[in-house]
């Protein structure tokens, strides 16, 4: 329970409540007012006043075992829930340990607020103990950051930070808090609203550009939609579905967009890009109009840009004007929130009372999909990745959340795990952070305790953040870690196999540690399964368990992810088995 903290609340002229209190309490009070229910973090010297005050606040704190994990947990929480995730660390190494997590959130436009302790104001710049210039370090990987120099500024800065992190194109915001600002007592104003004059996140689509896009789309013979992470962020699921059905346009997603269109829908082509499905990568080359929504045309999505959609006119909808023409040349740019743009395109086409006939294009899509979808079954001694992932999908309810690590495990999941509900597939797409999946799963589970959460992992990735098994056990956050254990850094091994003439350099991990024993050492459960019925049983048990379960599934080190578009090559140069 929150103890009474206010001595004499008063309203000043600007309709602003002012309370006499310490900076540390002002921070927590401001976070509470923004709706923060949980903070992921680790205490240390320069953030101790906040941790002391935390004992008096009704905010859950989850003690991580490494600040990187605290950051990924906040990120996983944000991606699963759509609201801002908060993480906290001390100065110096605590703050620098957050850097990978902040950069991960920045690349994938995930709204987190990171709070760091800092040395006292007088010591800044003197190379004091545990001093790091975290504002300087994180400037290129945050949407914005602050160093707070007076306690009375804290509530305004917290309010601005949440506003900036969660609106427009979301992203991480860092607040650096010198220790003596935390202990400074003052009359502290709590503003009801904030305005940042250099920041205007709500942008309406330009009517003329919408009209041009509509004209192009209704005349298209082979229209296609490329949906990115922006569709998730803006919650434009219904609009996307309605427009795709109205146009009879197939939908391919980027890695970040996966799940924004139900993958069991007849118009879904799955993912596109380096490890996209064959149908998506083949059909995108045939499209005559491509409607790209909330995507930045990353190199992993487009392959060699000059040969990406060579015959298509491209309509690009993005809320970030700086993404327009950054990578791809587009014909019709629409700077807008995805939901608003799709809604107005849909509305105008609907008014035309246009009846789409079953087209040759639709037939081509159906035939190609049927032709390419043969099932893989295990022939060798060990389970096949595709089989493992499809089994997992079969056993999980539709609203279960899956996170991934980075590498082959991530791409097998991208290819074979069919996502039906939005915000149920969480992955480090832009930065490609190994070790992300497990702490992100913990954060997602905290946001959605009612659904099973599974980290699709590789042995190489999981070992980078496995110490937070301790957090999952101590804080009662049960998740399932499904390790596709090939005893190598699989994606690097695959590239060495395919592009370096099988010269394997420093990829062998040797099935160390024993992940069953490792899980047990933390008080979690561990299982090793080598046959399909055992896998089914282990997954079914794990997702109902009240303690985290690590399922170790040995697979062959020779497994490849196919299809693959070699780096720097065009989509049409895709290789498959």
């Amino acid at each position: 329970m929150t103890k009474p903290i206010a001595r004499s609340p008063s309203m000043n002229a600007e309709d602003m409540e002012t309370i006499r209190m310490m900076g540390s309490r002002a921070l927590l009070e401001a976070l509470k007012r923004e709706g923060t229910k949980v903070i992921f973090g680790i205490p240390g010297g320069a953030i101790m006043p906040v941790y002391d005050a935390l004992l008096d606040f009704d905010i859950r704190h989850i003690l991580a075992r490494h600040e990187q994990c605290a950051g990924h947990m906040a990120d996983g929480y944000a991606r699963a829930s759509g609201s801002v995730g908060v993480c906290m660390a001390t100065s110096g190494p605590g703050a620098t340990n957050l850097v990978t997590a902040i950069a991960t959130a920045y690349m994938d436009s995930s709204p987190i607020v990171a709070i760091t302790g800092q040395v006292t104001r007088a010591m800044i710049g003197k190379d004091a103990f545990q001093e790091a210039d975290i504002v300087g370090i994180t400037t290129p990987i945050t949407k914005y950051n602050y160093q707070v120099m007076a306690a009375k500024d804290i509530p305004r800065i917290v309010k601005e930070a949440f506003y900036i992190a969660s609106t427009g194109r979301p992203g991480p915001v860092l607040i650096d808090l010198p220790r003596d600002v935390q202990t400074e007592e003052d009359e502290i104003p709590f503003p009801k609203s904030v305005k940042v004059r250099g920041y205007n996140p709500s942008i309406e689509p330009h009517p003329l550009q919408v009209k041009r896009a509509v004209d192009l789309l209704v005349q298209a013979e082979r229209p296609m939609i490329l949906a990115g992470g922006g569709v998730h962020i803006s919650g434009a699921y219904e609009e996307l579905l309605a427009l795709a059905e109205l146009l009879n346009a197939p939908v391919a997603t980027t890695l970040m967009g996966k799940g924004c269109f139900p993958e069991n829908h007849p118009l879904s082509l799955g993912g596109v890009g380096m490890h996209g499905t064959r149908e998506a990568n083949l059909l995108i080359l045939e499209a005559d109009v491509l409607l790209a929504v909330g995507t930045r045309f990353s190199d992993r999505t487009t392959g060699r840009l000059t040969e990406f959609c060579p015959d298509a006119k491209i309509i690009h909808v993005d809320i970030d004007a700086a993404e327009i023409r950054k990578n791809a040349k587009v014909d019709i740019p629409i700077v807008s929130d995805a939901k608003k743009a799709l809604k107005s395109i849909y509305g105008q086409i609907l008014q035309m009372a246009l009846k789409r006939q079953p087209s040759l294009w639709l037939k081509r899509i159906e035939e190609l999909k049927a032709q390419l979808n043969e099932e893989a079954t295990s022939t060798g001694a060990s389970l096949k990745p595709k089989e493992i992932i499809k089994t997992l999908r079969r056993l999980l309810p539709e609203d279960a959340i899956v996170t991934t690590e980075v590498g082959q495990n991530q791409m097998w999941a991208f290819l074979h795990f069919q996502v039906i509900k939005p915000r149920t597939y969480i992955t480090s797409g832009g930065l490609g952070t190994m070790g992300f999946g497990f702490p992100a799963a913990l954060g997602a589970k905290v946001a959605k305790p009612e659904v099973p959460v599974v980290d699709i992992a590789g042995d190489g990735s999981f070992i980078m953040t496995e110490q937070d098994l301790a957090t999952s056990v101590m804080e009662h956050i049960p998740v399932t870690v499904l390790i596709l254990n090939n005893s190598v850094l699989g994606m690097v091994a695959q590239w060495q196999r395919l592009f370096y003439n099988r010269r394997y350099s420093n990829v062998y991990l040797g099935r160390i540690p024993d992940f069953v024993k490792l899980a047990e050492a933390y008080g979690a459960k561990g299982e090793r399964v080598e046959a399909l019925p055992d896998l089914e049983e282990a997954i079914s048990k794990a997702i109902k368990s009240d303690v985290t379960t690590v399922i170790d599934v040995p697979i062959s080190p020779e497994e490849n992810v196919f299809p693959i578009v070699p780096a720097g090559k065009a989509l049409k140069e895709m290789l498959w088995e």
């Binding site: 949407k143 250099g198 004007a321 700086a322 950054k326």
Partner: protein
């Protein structure tokens, strides 16, 4: 002159507070843009400063620069200043070696032609202040080279659009 050698002038109204210049220059470095010159000073409006940046490159580059600048939270307004519609000025201080009376007289004459001023005189040196377009200053410096340039300092350009058009932030 090829398209990628084109000089573009960009004016940005920014928050006048610590760290803003770092954010702007950091963005340039991170995105691989080169700043040819940058000048910063407070404006008559409270809490705002004006940056005048010049960048060299093609249309694609300058469009990216403007968009990335606009994206920065502390940048309130950004405009491109087009050469025909803009007053451009740069100031330079140039210290010239003047060994004898002839040299001193020559330098004074040149400074007068360039409508500059002599702001410091010593036994063997003179310092000239020249204001004008960057081309004019380049020309003056070329003329001074035979005398011997001891030191020079240029401000980088500052610029305003002609007529009523402005980059001001509406209240």
């Amino acid at each position: 002159m090829t398209e990628s050698d084109q000089i573009h002038i960009i004016a940005a109204i920014v928050e006048h507070k610590p760290g803003v210049l770092y954010r702007v220059s950091n963005m340039f470095r991170r995105r691989g843009f080169n700043i040819e010159s940058i000048t910063v000073g407070p404006t008559e409006e409270d809490g705002l400063a004006r940056m005048t940046l010049t960048v060299k490159g093609d249309e694609y580059l300058v469009e990216q620069v403007v968009k990335q600048l606009r994206k920065l939270i502390d940048v309130v307004k950004v405009s491109r200043l087009l050469s025909g519609e803009t007053v451009v000025r740069e100031m330079a201080l140039i210290k010239i070696r003047t060994v004898d009376a002839k040299a001193r007289t020559d330098v004074v004459n040149y400074v007068e032609i360039f409508r500059g001023r002599i702001v410091d005189v010593a036994h063997e040196s003179m310092t000239a202040e020249i204001t004008g377009t960057p081309d004019k200053i380049d020309a003056f410096i070329e003329l001074m080279r035979p005398f011997g340039i001891l030191e020079d300092a240029r401000t980088g350009i500052t610029a305003l659009s002609r007529g009523l058009k402005s980059v001001k932030v509406e209240a």
